[in-house]
Structure formats: structure tokens, C-alpha cells
Symmetry: C2
Subunit: 379 residues, 2 copies
């Protein structure tokens, strides 16, 4: 049989037989060699099943014909294994690389995948467009869902797929393996710290509570019905602690921001301080927002913590460097745990739950509020 050696536009040598001008397949290779497809398959997948000599011949002919080895998709179809884990995020794919906490999570997840020899497929599930197709297209053996709202249509599609799924942080799904922390308790510890310092007049900044944008104050109803369980729990933790300390929670301003970046933290703090210049502390449900709040404080000439206490959540690197009072949560370990749960072959009956520990980090951004007198006459 005659062959052409074609150099395609990508620089690949593509050998094609004259009769059928198509790339080589396992079958055509077998035909060329005069052996069965099994044998060729074995040459790639089970080297011990044929003589070294024959194997060499197969591989060499493959090279000559430009056969690139078994097609991964066809193999996946046959073996029912894709060799990859899918990741579903709330946000734009690229956001995951802008948010330090998400990056750490990914780092942990990537470690677990690598250990298991699995690829990690980032599924392009843009929350703006309800384009669920990408989830259906994903050739994966399982999904990790990271921090999405309970009513996300992409989530629904993931749950329909007949593959194991692990949820991290959100939402809370009884029937699935999950990884998370005790958000409520962690936030309560922040609140108690501030209460002990003497703060009673506070403001709160939180991340988005639902898929609809609300860059404004949050009503009690919205707080309770938030589709993001993590934010809901953190607010609940604050409400509980401050309520117990005699603070009327309904009177506490809670400002929400849809986009999670420093600029939004700053604008939220501005909104809070404009509304009530008397607040002595701004509690944020993330470090990024807290960083923004500190920026705004500086802009207004308020010293932190003398004039204003600011707290965050997560303990990302920059927050740590700045000595932010915050809650450390093991984000990378979350990713690792999620990946482990997913790739762990051990059969399990009921859904597993991993709850990781957190730690209150008391930094240099929280202090006792100054008395009114001090505010007017200096420390």
C-alpha cells in the first residue's frame, strides 16, 4: 500500500494511505501490519501481552504512518473513564485566578488531581449567560462544585449528570459529599471579639447573597433568604452574637456587594460610614472587602484601629501581611479534601462531610472603640 507523508499546517506529519486519505487509526495500522486490532491496542496499553519484537514493529509502523496513538475520546467512550475532574465555579472562569482564596482552593484541588493522575477541567459556566451546555459537554468522571448558589442552573445540570460530585462551601446538599467550615461559628468568634472590645455600633459588608445584583443595604428578609449559604451563615453568626450582647440587629446596617474586589469593599465602607459616621467597627465577610474598607478609612482620615476597627475573613496573604483581624480558614486544604473525596476509590454508603477548622486571628486592625470624648479631644 502506498502512503503520502503530509506535513499539515501544524507541522504534524500526517501519513495517509492513497486509497483512503484519512489519518491513520488503530484499525488501519492493524491492517497495514497484518495483525489484529487487539494486538495494536495491546502494544499501547498492555506491553506485556505481546513479544517485545512485535511491539517494536507496531510502534515503528505507527510512527511511519503518523499514527498518534489511540484516540483519547474513543478510549474514554469504551472504558467509561475520562481521566479528568470537572470544576464548577460561580464566577467567570478568569475570576478564579483573580481571587486569592479561589487560587488557593485550586492549588489544593490540583494537588489532589495530580496525585490521582486526573486532569482538572475548568468548566466555562458563565453566570451571566445561562448556558448549561458546557456542563453537558464536559467529559469528566466527576465534579467538584465550588461555592455556587443553591439555585444555579449550572449546578442543576451537574447534579443531573450520573457522576460523583463533591460540593465545597455551597450549597448545602444533603445527598452529596461536601467540604466546608463552620461559617457561623467562625463569624461568631469575630463578633465576640469585637463585643468584648466594647463595640456596639457596627456596620457589616458582605458578598453577594443571591444571583440578582444588589449593591445596597440588605433587608432582614434578604439576609435570611440568601441563596449563598456561606454568607447567610456568617450574617446569622453576627446576628446571634450581637443580639445576645444586646444589640438590636435590625438596626445594624448590612451592605451587600455583587462584585468581589477591593474597590467594592471601599465603596461599601463609604456607604456605611455615610449612613452612620458613629460606627466603631466595620465587619466584612471577606478579606478582600476588608482591604477595601481600610482603603476607604484611610481616605477619610480615619486611623485603623484607633478610629475604626476593620475585620475580614479568609486570611489571604495580603491580609496577613497587613495584620488584619480575620478568620483563617484552610482554603487550600478544602481543595485538597474535595479532590480526595472525589478521587478516593473507597466505596462509601452515605454522603461524607469534611468540616475543616478555622482560627480567629487577632491582628492590628481591631481595638477598643474610643469614647465619644476621646473622639473629640484625642486619645
Amino acid at each position: 500500500m502506498l502512503h503520502l507523508l503530509v506535513l499539515d499546517r501544524y507541522g504534524h506529519f500526517m501519513a495517509r494511505s492513497m486509497n483512503a486519505r484519512r489519518p491513520a487509526t488503530l484499525a488501519s495500522l492493524a491492517a497495514e501490519l497484518g495483525v489484529s486490532r487487539t494486538t495494536v491496542s495491546n502494544a499501547y496499553n498492555r506491553p506485556d501481552q505481546l513479544s517485545p519484537e512485535l511491539r517494536r514493529r507496531v510502534l515503528e509502523t505507527a510512527r511511519r504512518l503518523g499514527y498518534p496513538g489511540p484516540d483519547p475520546v474513543a478510549r474514554s467512550l469504551r472504558t467509561r473513564k475520562a481521566g479528568a475532574v470537572g470544576l464548577l465555579l460561580t464566577e467567570n472562569l478568569s475570576y478564579a485566578f483573580r481571587d486569592p482564596a479561589a487560587v488557593s482552593f485550586l492549588e489544593g484541588l490540583a494537588m489532589a488531581c495530580e496525585l490521582a493522575g486526573q486532569g482538572l477541567l475548568l468548566v466555562p459556566a458563565n453566570p451571566e449567560r445561562e448556558d448549561v451546555a458546557a456542563v453537558h459537554r464536559a467529559g469528566v468522571d466527576g465534579f467538584v462544585v465550588y461555592s455556587v448558589p443553591d439555585d444555579d442552573p449550572h449546578l442543576a445540570s451537574v447534579l443531573e449528570r450520573p457522576v460523583p460530585t463533591v460540593v465545597c462551601d455551597q450549597p448545602e446538599l444533603e445527598l452529596f459529599d461536601s467540604v466546608g467550615i463552620d461559617d457561623r461559628a467562625a463569624m461568631t468568634s469575630v463578633a465576640e471579639h469585637l463585643i468584648q472590645l466594647g463595640h456596639r455600633r457596627i456596620g457589616v459588608i458582605c458578598m453577594r447573597l443571591s444571583r440578582d445584583r444588589n449593591d445596597d443595604l440588605v433587608s432582614q428578609v434578604r439576609q435570611r433568604e440568601a441563596h449563598f449559604h456561606v454568607q447567610r451563615s456568617r450574617l446569622a453568626g453576627l446576628a446571634q452574637a450581637f443580639g445576645a450582647a444586646g444589640v438590636d440587629w435590625e438596626g445594624v446596617s448590612v451592605v451587600e456587594r455583587f462584585d468581589h474586589d477591593i474597590a467594592n469593599g471601599a465603596s461599601a465602607a463609604a456607604q456605611l460610614l455615610d449612613r452612620d459616621p458613629q460606627i466603631t467597627a466595620v465587619i466584612c465577610t471577606s478579606d478582600i472587602l476588608a482591604l477595601g474598607a481600610m482603603e476607604e478609612a484611610t481616605r477619610r482620615g480615619l486611623r485603623v484601629p484607633q478610629d475604626l476597627t476593620v475585620t475580614g475573613f479568609d486570611c489571604v496573604a495580603e491580609a496577613e501581611r497587613l495584620g488584619l483581624t480575620t478568620v483563617r480558614q484552610p482554603v487550600r486544604e478544602k481543595g485538597l479534601a474535595a479532590g480526595r473525596l472525589l478521587t478516593d476509590p473507597s466505596d462509601h454508603g452515605r454522603p461524607r462531610r469534611v468540616t475543616l477548622p478555622t482560627e480567629l486571628i487577632i491582628g492590628r486592625t481591631s481595638a477598643a472603640p474610643r469614647t465619644t470624648e476621646e473622639r473629640w479631644f484625642g486619645p
Copy 2:
């Protein structure tokens, strides 16, 4: 036909016919409905090809039977599209999330993928184990290769695959689309800046030059034969500029570090300063290494830039914050460009090359060297 509704351990409803206890497929759904497979397929992929009423029936029966929609792998096999882009990195998967430059690159690449509706598959190609299988398993429509040495076996496997490939930074491959910067010219600009300031006695710290570990001085031969083209070019740029300024390049200590982190930058600087305490500048081929060098300088009581000039490369966030003298390169844009090249459907004849601009950033870590007198008697 009778059906069982089974709730499997992941909480998925799995409907199975009594005769064949297997998950529903498009074929079984068609049989159940008494229509052809085409019709069911159309219900999912070409809604305009059937009556809304029939479509509704199909979809509803699907739900009842627990049919999760067309299997993505089978579809991929048939359509010859995986809907994903593969990414090959030199390092452990998780490293990509630890290195700020790599994170930015990923951010850009993710943006491009999202725009094209493609997934992004991180291929677990651990450089330690020469396990090329993961590359062969990857169900992708194309690859992006990011900064790998020219003799990497994973790279070889990628190039064998009959899919388009774009190379970013390294290696230089004539036949493939590529994205990069002019590393040599960029580094020359750093050198000229230092030469102008009056530095003649310098030390250099670079990243790994080959796949074999060498945490030590680099010979001239090793410099010229480095398998990492980027490092090679940067060193060549320095050699050229300093050579032109009358500095004997062979006498300049160049220290290499295999692992790319701050601690290694520090230890390399220590090695350099131990070897020749008279050097007035430490030039690093990355910001991370430079950050380490600054740490070491501080440890020794050397003030930067009064006692020692330190320069980096990349302009990552932390370097910018510290006012490091460095080269800004548009890392995110590299990722974006690589993704665009790959997903751009426009047919092209010859390989395309995108060279992005760089900019010398003169910060607060470079200054004229002090004279010997000043060194002894103060400024």
C-alpha cells in the same frame, strides 16, 4: 415496560428498565417513546427539527427515566470535538497556582477559553515522573504549551497529537503558533540601566536552565546550551550588554536555582555575596528570585539600593508594591493571546507569532553603586 427508580449513592435518580438494568441511553429512550434515535437526538441538539409538543414529550420521558442527556464522550467521538483546550505546564499542576506570573497567564487563557465557550483542561504532567499517558488521555481540541523545556517528553507527546498547538514562551518551535516577548532585548534594557548607573561588578541569579537540577554556579557551556530558551535569552542579553560595556562576562557569577521561590532567591543571593562581597548589583531573571535576594540583603544588613542594587523580571504585584526595578511583561495578555490563537477558527497557512511588548520599570531598588570610599566611610 416497567421501570425501577433507583436512588444511587450520589443521590441521582437512576431509572432502569426491568429487563436491562442499566442506565438509560438515547437509544433506550427512543425505544421507550417509540420514536427513532434521531428524533431524540434532535430534541437535544436541534430543537427546531421537531414539534414542540414531541420535544416536550421526549424531555419529560427523559426526566422520568433519569436519562441525563446525550453522553458527552460519545458525542465527542462522533462530532470530533471535545470542547476543551488542554494546558501543558512544566511544573506540578499545583505550582501553577503558587506562582503569581503563572496565575496571571492562566487568567488570560481562561478568559479566552470562556469567550470561545471552551473548557480548560489542566493536564497533570509531573516533570518528575515521565508519565506521558496523561497527555494521551486528554480529550481536547488543542493544546497550549506554557514555558516548557525543549526536551520535555510531555511536549513531544503533545506535538504528536493531531491537534492545533500554541506555544507560549518556550520552547521556540518554528512550525507552531507562538506567543512571547523579546526576552533578550528586555534583559538588555535592564543591563543598560545598570551600566549607566555605573555597575560593573555584578552577580546574576537565574531560574532552572535544564531539566536536571543544578543549584549552583552556571558554566558558560551550560548557559549557552540551556534547554529553557527564555532563561538562555535573558542571560544572553546580559552577556551582550555587559560585554559591550567592557565587563568580562566569563568572570560574572551566574547562580542557578531549580525551584522557583523566594527562599531559593535568598540562598542564591547568599551564594553570590559569599563568593564576592564586592558586587554592587544582583540581577535576577524573575521577581520571585529578586524578592528573595532582597530578603538576603536585609539579613546581611545591606541596604537596597544604597549598598546593593537588586532587579527582577515580570513585575508581579508584590514586586510592584515594593518598588522593585524590573521588566513589566503582559503575562495575562500572553494567556489571552495564546487562547485566541488556538480558538480562532480563521484558517491560516503559516505559523503565527505574537510578540508582546515589555517595559523597563525603574523602581527604588536600583541606584548608582557607592564608591569604595563611601562603602567604608558612609555616604
